[in-house]
Symmetry: C2
Subunit: 457 residues, 2 copies
C-alpha cells in the first residue's frame, strides 16, 4: 500500500518532518479507546496548508490512506490508521492566527488545543466554551463534533465553528462559511465537515465563535430521591427558561467513587451539579428559581457554591470523575460509551441501563450532561479478560439500541470512529447510504480516513 | 420536457390533485421577487410522503424537473420553475403531527405556516421563534434557511430544525437527525438539507425545536447620532452578555417612512429597536444595563415600552416597514436585497451602501437585524422602467460585493434562488464546485429545482 516512491515524494516535501521511527508510529497507534489497530506506515508533521495540500495530492497519486491526528484524545479510535497509510499529525499547526474581540471570533490552526486557546484569550474578556474534558485539539473537536459540559448553554462544535479551511482528497483547498454571523448562501459545507471524522477532508484552519466571560457564576449540587425526580427537575428548569451553563448528572455509583477520590461527602443519591453564568443579579435570581424547582422535585442536601474556591472544588471533583471511577475497581480499564436521548426519555434510558449493568458481572457508573439528554457509562473491565470485554461491548451495544428505541442517537458526543460503525445502519437507515454517496463524491479513491463512518462497500 | 405519459402517470396517482389549469399554473409562476419566469407545466398537490416519493420516482422516470412550493413568499424566486416541469405544492401537507412539551419539540408537515404552528402551540407555553416576516411555510423556511428578527437570541432555521424527512430524486426517502438534543453519529444531513433550496430533495416532515414563551418582555426604541454609534452600542451590548431577543436597525429614510405610515413620531435619526425576553427581574435588569450602554454611545430619544399595547405599537410599526417604505414612493415596486457582514464591519457596510444609493437616481431605505450583521435595502423603482431596474440590480450587486470584501456573505437570509447565482463563485471559490459535486451525487439527473444554487454545467 505504501510504495517507496510515495515515501520519497513525501520526504522531498517534508524532510525530517516525515517520520517512520518505530516510537513515532507506535505513539500514533494508541488511543483512549479499547480498539487495537495497526500502526500507520509513516507520520507527517506539516506546518502549512500548502504542505497539507501537497501531501493530499501525493497520497492521491500513490493511493495512500490519510488519517488526521490532533491530540489523540478521542474515545472511539477516530485517529487510528486502521488500513495503514499516512497519519498527518497537526501538532505543529497550533497557532492562534487572529482574534477579533468586536466580532467575538478567533481564527486558529487545527493543532491548537482548547486549553491553549483559552489561555491566549485570557485578557480579552472572551472564552471558547466547548469542553469535552480532555485537552483536545480544536481540529479534532471539529472533526468529531465534540461537545461536553457547557453545551446546554453554549452549544456544541456544530454551533461554535463558523467556518473552515479544508484540504480535500487530491489536494483541492476550500474555505467554508463566512465571518458574518449567518448566511443563506448555499449548502452548509461547514456543518457537513464538522463531525465528518476526517472522512471528507483535512481541516487546516477554523473560525470559531467566542463568548463573553461571565461576570458572575454560581454553582450547586443537590441530591434527589430518584433519577426520575432529578430528570424531571431538569425538564422543568429548561421549560421555565432558566439558562443553565451546565447541568451534570451523577448516579450513586459515580457519587460514591467521587467521594472517595476527591474527599467530598455528597449524599449517596442521584446528584445534579449545576452552574449559572450571567450578571450578579441574574445568577442570584436563576439560582433561587432553580432551588425552588429542585425542592418541588424532592431535592435534599442542597449545597451552594458561590465562592470561587467552593466552585473549584466541585469542578475538580466532576473533572476527576473518570480517574475516580477507574480507581473504584483497582487494576481495571474502562470502556467508555455514550448515548443521547430525548430528555423526556432520559430517566427511563438511565434506569434501564443501570439495571442492565447491575445484572452483569462488571461495574459501570453512569454520569452525563443531563441538559442535553446525553449520558456515559464507564464500564470497568479487567484489561486481559476477554469475557469481561465481551460483556462490556454487549452492554454498550444494548445501550445504543435502547437509545435508538427511545428516539435518540447511538452517540451524543463520542462519535463513531472505529467503534460504532456497526450501529450506523440502525440509526440512519437509507440516510447512511446518502452519507456514502457524499463520501464517494468528494473522495472517490476512499483515501480520507478509510474504514470509518460511512458504509464500507 | 413534459411528455404526455408523465402527465398520465402522475394523474393516475394524484387524480384531480394534479392540475394544469391556467390559473393554477399562473399562480405558481408568481413570486415576491423581481424575477420573471415561465409557468410550470403542471402542479401537484400531494397529501402524503408516499405520494411525494411516487411523484419523485415518476419524475425521474420521465426526466421531469421538480420544484417545491410552500407559501410562495421567498424573495429570490426560489420556487419558480425556471426550466418548467412539475411544481409540488405542499399546501395540503399542513398538519402538526406531534408536540412534545417535555422535549420542547414539534413534528410538522412542510406546508404548515409558522403562524399556524404558533397558533397551535398557544396553550402549551411554548413557541417557535423563527420569524422572517411573511407567514412562510415551515418547509420553505427550512429549505431557504430563513431567519429574521429573533435570530440573535433564538437562532435561524439552522439552529431550530432538528431533523427532517426528505424525499430524494428517484423516490428514496430518508430521515435525518434525531429527537435527541445533539448527536455525533455521522454527517449532519439535516444541516446539509437546510438551506439547500430544494436542489437536493423535497422536505416532507420537520422536527422543530420549540422555546418557552418568555415570562416577561420589555422593548424600547432609541435614536443615535450616527450609524457607527448605533452599531458600536450593539457590539458592546453583545459583548457584555446581555441577551437581546431582537435588535433591529432602521436608517433615517426608514424611520421617516414608518412615521408617515404608522403615525409615530420617532426622531429622524438612525434608530435601534430592541426587545428583551426573560423573567420580570431579568428583563428589567437587561433593559437598565442596555440603557446605560446606549447612553454611553450618545443615544437620545429613548422610548421604553413595558406595557403590552406600547410594545404592540412598536411591533406593528416595524412589521409594517415594508408597506411604509413602498408608500414612500407612490407607484413604485421594490427590489429587496440583503447581505450579512461581521458586526465590526456593519457600520461601514451600511454607510457605504447608503452613499451608493444616495448617488443613484432611486431611493432605497435600509433596515436590518443588526445583532446578526444582517441588513436589507428596499430599492424603489418604477415597475416598467428598465433603466431604474438596471440601476437597482447594479446597486444590489455592489452591495453583495461590498459584503464579500468585508468578510461577509452575499445573503444573510433571503437566499440565492434565481436571483444571486452569479455571485456564488465570488463567495465560495472552489467550495462552490464541491456543492456541485454533492448535488450530482444525490441528483444525477438534475431534476431537483434545476437552474438554482449550484454551478450550472
Amino acid at each position: 500500500m505504501f510504495r517507496p516512491e510515495a515515501l520519497s515524494d513525501l520526504r522531498a516535501t517534508l524532510g525530517d518532518r516525515l517520520s517512520t521511527a518505530p516510537a513515532v508510529l507506535e505513539h500514533h497507534a494508541q488511543s483512549e479507546s479499547h480498539i487495537r489497530a495497526r500502526s500507520p506506515d509513516a507520520v507527517a508533521f506539516p506546518e502549512t496548508t500548502d504542505e497539507v495540500a501537497q501531501i493530499s495530492a501525493m497520497c492521491a497519486r500513490h493511493k495512500v490512506p490519510m488519517v488526521a491526528w490532533g491530540a489523540g484524545t478521542s474515545l472511539e479510535g477516530h485517529a487510528l490508521a486502521v488500513q495503514g497509510g499516512l497519519t498527518i499529525d497537526f501538532s505543529r499547526m497550533n497557532k492562534v492566527l487572529a482574534v477579533s474581540p468586536q466580532d467575538m471570533r478567533a481564527v486558529v490552526q487545527p493543532g491548537l488545543t482548547r486549553v491553549a486557546l483559552n489561555h491566549a484569550l485570557r485578557d480579552t474578556g472572551l472564552f471558547f466554551p466547548v469542553d469535552p474534558g480532555a485537552d483536545a485539539s480544536l481540529g479534532g473537536m471539529a472533526a468529531t463534533r465534540a461537545s461536553g459540559t457547557a453545551a446546554v448553554r453554549y452549544g456544541t462544535m456544530r454551533d461554535n465553528v463558523l467556518g473552515l479551511e479544508v484540504v480535500l482528497a487530491g489536494g483541492r483547498v476550500i474555505r467554508t462559511g463566512t465571518l458574518a454571523p449567518k448566511t443563506a448562501a448555499g449548502y452548509d459545507l461547514t456543518a457537513l465537515m464538522v463531525g465528518s471524522e476526517g472522512t471528507l477532508g483535512l481541516i487546516t484552519e477554523l473560525t470559531l465563535r467566542l463568548h463573553g466571560q461571565p461576570e458572575a457564576i454560581s454553582a450547586a449540587t443537590c441530591g434527589f430521591p430518584s433519577i426520575t425526580a432529578a430528570v424531571d427537575c431538569v425538564i422543568a428548569t429548561i421549560q421555565s427558561g432558566i439558562p443553565m451553563a451546565w447541568i451534570e448528572f451523577l448516579d450513586e455509583a459515580t457519587v460514591a467513587a467521587c467521594n472517595v477520590w476527591s474527599g467530598t461527602s455528597l449524599p449517596l443519591a442521584p446528584q445534579l451539579m449545576v452552574e449559572f453564568h450571567g450578571s450578579p443579579a441574574g445568577v442570584a435570581e436563576q439560582a433561587e428559581r432553580f432551588g425552588t424547582i429542585a425542592r418541588d422535585f424532592g431535592s435534599h442536601g442542597f449545597l451552594w457554591a458561590k465562592a470561587q474556591e467552593d466552585r473549584s472544588r466541585l469542578w475538580k471533583m466532576r473533572h476527576a470523575a473518570y480517574p475516580a471511577i477507574l480507581a473504584a475497581r483497582p487494576g481495571a480499564v474502562a470502556i467508555v460509551t455514550d448515548v443521547c436521548v430525548p430528555i423526556s426519555a432520559l430517566a427511563q434510558a438511565v434506569a434501564e441501563t443501570q439495571a442492565d449493568i447491575a445484572a452483569s458481572p462488571i461495574p459501570g457508573p453512569i454520569l452525563g450532561h443531563v441538559g442535553d439528554g446525553n449520558f456515559h457509562a464507564i464500564l470497568l473491565i479487567r484489561p486481559d479478560d476477554p469475557t469481561e470485554h465481551a460483556v462490556a461491548q454487549a452492554l454498550a451495544h444494548r445501550m445504543a439500541e435502547r437509545a435508538l428505541a427511545l428516539g435518540g442517537t447511538i452517540t451524543g458526543e463520542h462519535g463513531i470512529g472505529a467503534g460504532k460503525l456497526a450501529l450506523m445502519a440502525a440509526e440512519h437507515g437509507s440516510g447512511w447510504g446518502v452519507m456514502g454517496d457524499i463520501k464517494r463524491a468528494l473522495d472517490p479513491l476512499n483515501l480520507m480516513n478509510p474504514g470509518k463512518l460511512v458504509p464500507q462497500t
